[in-house]
């Protein structure tokens, strides 16, 4: 039932007075059960949140993918410095070089640039900026089996 609920709710949330009740009716459980299941899924960290997913770009925020080549033994330390910035939404260690890949979103292009320069001087490694020139797809709908 959790799976059915999560598959449905990735793209469905009625803008109504009783949204959880409306969701419940679609999968044949009660509104209370939907809420209690969502509470548990949030507590266990399976769900990060329920709500609106804003489009940073549309709101006028600027973002970029960024990549850094860091010696192997220093990756955790460098990632920790990068993660301190609130505008960093994703940060991964990846195979090959560059090996640290993060995304940075800031209120505008100017602040984005400043922030990248600031991070660069703090970590002391060159940051490759990979801004998106065109978005072909954005939106994750996972098929949970």
């Amino acid at each position: 039932m959790d799976k059915a609920l999560m598959n449905l709710m990735q793209n469905y949330f009625p803008l109504s007075k009783n949204p959880y009740q409306d969701i419940a009716e679609k999968i044949g459980i009660t509104g209370e059960e939907v809420i209690s299941r969502l509470e548990k899924l949030c507590e266990s960290g399976v769900i990060r949140k329920v709500g609106a997913i804003p489009s940073a770009r549309k709101i006028g925020f600027a973002s970029t993918l960024a990549a850094v080549s860091v010696p192997f033994g220093k990756t955790d330390e460098i990632a920790e410095i990068i993660n301190k910035y609130q505008g960093v939404t994703h940060n991964y260690l990846r195979e090959g070089n560059p090996n640290i890949w993060f995304t940075l979103t800031e209120p505008n292009q100017k602040i984005l640039e400043q922030r990248l320069n600031e991070i660069e001087s703090k970590i002391n490694y060159k940051i490759i900026r990979l801004p998106a020139k065109k978005i072909f797809k954005i939106g994750v709908k996972f098929d949970i089996k």
Partner: protein, 153 residues
């Protein structure tokens, strides 16, 4: 903007929008109208839940970086975007590779098979598969409250 900030995280109560309306001292109908408007204009991409995909068994996350001739970018990007397993696809500048997409699945073997099919479909031989080996951070973008202090703005 106040409405958008509040509805980013909805309370798990029977009438979440009533609660938001009370918080903002606004009419619930007005809140719902604003939400529909933000959605139709694209300021809100969708309403629903944000999953921690690693916790639902989707542990193989592959980024593919491909070098696509500039005049073929639009066609290649659209082809890639149409694939079900692909979650994100962008044309990016700044590096040797310029078309980036993400594929997620339950196993590394599955994503590699899908990725190979996709690069073959767009006819690109110059690409790199870049698996993530560790997640340092993964959060949702959130429009901050005015009171939130984020550095120097």
């Amino acid at each position: 903007m106040a409405v958008l900030i509040e509805v980013q995280q909805l309370p798990l109560v029977s009438n979440p929008f009533t609660e938001i309306a009370n918080r903002l001292n606004m009419d619930e109908k007005k809140i719902l109208t604003i939400c529909k408007d933000l959605l139709s204009k694209g300021f809100i991409r969708r309403f629903g839940l944000s999953l921690n995909h690693r916790k639902v068994g989707i542990i193989a996350n592959l980024m593919v970086a491909a070098k696509v001739p500039k005049d073929q970018i639009d066609e290649a990007g659209s082809t890639v975007a149409a694939e079900k397993e692909v979650s994100h696809c962008y044309y990016r500048t700044g590096w040797y590779y310029n078309l980036f997409f993400m594929i997620h699945s339950v196993s590394k073997k599955d994503v590699v098979i899908s990725a190979k099919e996709i690069v073959e479909k767009i006819g690109i031989g110059d690409y790199r598969f870049i698996f993530s080996t560790k997640e340092f951070k993964k959060t949702s973008f959130k429009v901050p409250h005015q009171s939130d202090k984020r550095g120097d703005y």
